[in-house]
Subunit: 586 residues, 2 copies
């Protein structure tokens, strides 16, 4: 440490929002270099490389083959699949000196597809899984949380190529298993959740989430462990109720509903006016049908209004909505938009004017709970009026369904009906069944056993390598600093020289040399003029799993061995220290 | 090889100009992905990683510490040092979604300087040498020769930080030695030549050139091995002759020189007209003073005329000229330029009108051979007339010297006067003494022993890692294919199953398993339905150093072991094959 390129900080960096960012900067692992871009210092790069190597070893073990593509790519292949436009502002685009369009690749589906097309032509060549570990670029609107969401980051992306869906399922399962082994070795806890595939296209897809409060992803999990359902909230499919009977439901009737600025006030009015009450039970907020209008902006710049109908006890979940309408972006429906649609009466919008065939012409998609036979109170498209006993299917027909309503803790599990739990997580891996979208767009087909051209079926699989470093840091730290799992730690043992005595320094150096010869990775704090207290604090902050203090005990032939995570200390004889530590490290 | 992602090609790719490009594509190592961008296939990536690991090991061994920067960087630091402009069209520039300027870094001087400034503040922290191995970007006008000159490539760049010039010299020497060890291990022959530093700034600098005909660099070497002088032609410093006596040289006289469209014709006229002849010897082409006008274009877009005076037996060497005027670019001086300078008479330009104080106002720099006292025939600034016996220093005074004349084989060595040899090479490494340029521009200083702020002295050192792969390929191939040095080869042993017999296949597989257990890296050609002939050809093309043929010999208990490079074959007993091959590989 007397020569290591390192400065630890006592103070938290002012821009750090999450513990991993704070501690990786304070511990001298990373340093901000650009908005959303970080420099790895020697300790950090060592952890990064340990993580990268584990990922590589597990990919290789699964029989996937490593290749490496450029990051700077021509526009054409991404144009062919539509992603040049679909990625919108998230793509870094540039021109070369001749004015040709290039991009910095966010992922490489197109290039992998073209490469396999270039080399392979027969079903005999398949299955194939190839991967790379590479720097990726995404022009994030809000780079944040240090390594968790940057604009330049390292990713392992794999792609599988199969002759049919059964083959894809096998490749998908092989990646799923390899990912489980990888995250197990990284010491990263994870939940596998169903996901939507977003801009990637494709069908089945699952995410590996590290369940952490700082995560940007929200997921649900069934409280019944036997059921095992888990999904990103964006991917939750609300179970639609069965078709209810409308026998005995009065005809819909428009009513004055003065002074009902909130749903609570409206429900209260409904339950207190005899003519409005339900015969079977009280009205509740979930019986009101709220219609929210948004503007969708498509990558080509065109916009379209969309009405989302959902029970009044829920808000629209913007991430769920965005996942459904991607690559379009969701924008607020402003006063100028209302002005263009005079039939939409703000605060009183009802199905009467909605739908592509309605007066407004605004597309109308509803939550699955707004099912045939369900009975609602909703806006009557006139100021101060609501329509009561409006029955879906009898009195109005939406254009379709959309999963855009908030998911609440306690909602029924779509699989078994038990209560759902909600938690947050960091996406550390994602596996997709892409299907034939990319192969079709780019003309990747092979001859099958009957000599017929068959479009290849693909999968795409990613692990955020730099993000994994931060996720690991998030899972193992305390108020003193980081606590790395041994396999990714920058060293196995952190030896602190706690004193100036020459015998003590000699003992420490000899211990380090012997450990080194045994293949133990050692970090030696041999800084002169730094107090033992500062050295101890730095050791706790840096977070090597085993700390050895070579101090006063040397006089009586002992050193102190401390477990960074548990804090348990043990005096070990100097003579026995090497075998003791070697055993700890294996 | 039955599952390896590989296709070898019989035909040369149409766009390949050099052997390494041709063979790396044919052997299934790389594939073109973009203009100046290549994809590494599994075999190629394995070679690349071997090379990268050797580079890393040698840097670590020398005590340099590895870090890692983003490639996508903000404009500001490069603006501070002037490189944002100086790099001209060679820099990939882009804007993020907020319109901020970014670049894809060609090298990282600025960022390393700022990082050290961020962390360090005292002379006690120095010396420091840190490095990274990273993807670099340069918008080459003419990407060519495969991996030798791409727009996206991998480079190891190191930077040293010292308190003074003596420290820098030690750091520089340490890098020089580390580079020698690195290239020795890579099996790359090299010559260390003096170089100019170009856009990097700084003073002393040397290049490591692999002496190969396909190289873009031309260098000179003294024919006297004891002298040892070697320099990139751009860096050759012509030895100026001593001041000659002008006693007895007639006064300059203007003469009609009709019908002398060439220098040969002019010299012939001079030697045949009695009034023009020299008394001491015949005129030769080297006595004529040729004045070439060019236009310099500076990064800010401004232009300036420059006159280069040089002996008439030499042309201007554009690369030498460009190296002198960098970051300005050299453009032809066209008719419209001549129109703006009526005193310049095309074909008859002489010193009489040149120089910043001359009629033309055009800056006039001359070859060092145009020294004080040297006697010339040159243009008289009138059509059809030359001026004879014009003596430098007596009759005209240039604005200064410039090294822009072609270097010829046989020219005197600037160090010892022996004849120079000329050869071509590929730049595989470059070491610079940067000095204080970057530290000054970015404010990197530390407190010295006396508590005084001292600007840090820097060095910068690069190895082209991806280029080294191609350079190695260029140094070891034959008409059958590649011949890798063992340490970088994708495998140690290439085992060919030459037959369909089950016993033979079993013998080969068992041999491979045993070799693998001994730590020998094996490539097994187990492709079904591929003839032994095709397999042999592929083995020669791929170029693993040892080829083992498991064929008919198995019946009598032998396999054939062939050295790829020498072609020497040897029958080895199956039983003794493993120890024999293990010995070969160590």
């Amino acid at each position: 440490m007397s020569t290591l390129f390192l400065r630890t900080l006592r103070e938290d960096p002012s821009d750090a929002e999450v513990p991993s960012h704070r501690l990786l900067v304070r511990g001298g692992y990373i340093r901000r270099a650009a908005p959303g871009g970080f420099t790895w210092l020697p300790l950090g790069w060592s952890v990064y490389r340990n993580v990268e190597n584990i990922v590589r070893e597990e990919m290789d073990r699964a029989g996937f083959q490593e290749v490496h593509f450029p990051a700077l790519l021509p526009r054409e292949p991404y144009e062919a699949t539509g992603r040049w436009a679909d990625y919108g502002d998230n793509l870094f685009r540039l021109k070369d000196r001749r004015g040709n369009d290039f991009l910095l690749a966010p992922t490489h589906e197109e290039m992998f597809t073209l490469l396999v097309k270039d080399l392979y032509s027969s079903y005999k060549d398949l299955p194939l899984s190839i991967y790379q570990i590479q720097t990726k670029y995404r022009d994030e609107a809000r780079p944040r949380a240090g390594l968790l969401r940057g604009r330049e980051f390292s990713m392992k992306d794999s792609y599988s190529f199969d002759i049919d869906q059964e083959g894809l399922q096998r490749s998908y399962d092989a990646h799923r298993e390899a990912y489980q082994r990888t995250f197990d070795r990284l010491g990263l806890p994870y939940v596998i959740v169903s996901a939507v595939s977003g801009a990637m296209g494709g069908s089945a897809s699952e995410e590996f989430l590290a369940p952490l409060e700082v995560g940007e992803d929200t997921f649900v999990r069934c409280s019944d462990m036997v059921c095992g359902y888990a999904a990103n909230t964006e991917a939750v499919q609300v179970r639609a109720p069965g078709v209810a009977s409308t026998d005995g439901v009065p005809n819909a009737h428009v009513e004055d509903t003065p002074n009902t600025p909130s749903i609570t006030a409206l429900v209260s009015l409904l339950n207190h006016e005899p003519g409005l009450r339900r015969s079977d039970r009280d009205w509740v907020a979930g019986d009101t049908l709220k219609n929210v209008i948004v503007r969708l902006r498509y990558p080509d710049g065109t916009t379209q209004a969309l009405a989302v109908g959902l029970p009044g006890d829920r808000e629209v979940d913007m991430k769920r909505l965005e996942a459904q309408v991607s690559p379009a972006e969701v924008e607020p429906f402003g006063d100028e938009d209302f002005a263009k649609h005079p039939s939409l009466v703000k605060g009183y919008i009802g199905p009467g004017v909605l739908g592509v065939h309605g007066t407004s012409g605004v597309r109308y998609l509803v939550d699955p709970r707004v099912a045939a036979g369900s009975r609602w109170v909703t806006g009557a498209n006139e100021h101060g009026k609501h329509i009561v006993d409006l029955v879906c299917g009898r009195d109005f027909t939406p254009d379709g369904n959309i999963e855009a309503a908030e998911v609440h803790a306690g909602d029924p599990c779509p699989q078994c009906g038990s209560a759902l739990e909600i938690a947050r997580g960091i996406e550390i891996g994602h596996i997709f069944q892409l299907g034939r979208k990319y192969a079709e767009a780019l003309g990747l087909s092979v001859l099958d056993q009957n000599g017929k051209q068959v479009v290849v079926t693909m999968g795409s699989y990613g692990i955020g390598v730099s993000r994994a470093v931060a996720a690991i840091a998030e899972t193992c730290y305390d108020d003193k600093g980081l606590c790395w799992p041994r396999e990714v730690a920058p060293a196995d043992v952190h030896v602190v020289i706690a004193g100036k005595d020459e015998a003590l320094i000699a003992a420490a150096e000899s211990l380090c040399a012997n450990l080194h010869n045994e293949g133990v990775r050692v970090l030696l704090d041999d800084r002169a003029g730094v107090s033992p207290g500062v050295k101890f604090n730095d050791a706790e902050l840096i977070g090597v799993p085993t700390i050895v203090v070579v101090g006063r005990g040397v006089a009586t032939g002992t050193v102190e061995v401390k477990d960074r995570k548990t804090g348990v200390k043990q005096d070990v004889s100097l003579a026995g220290a090497v075998p003791h530590l070697v055993a700890l490290c294996r």
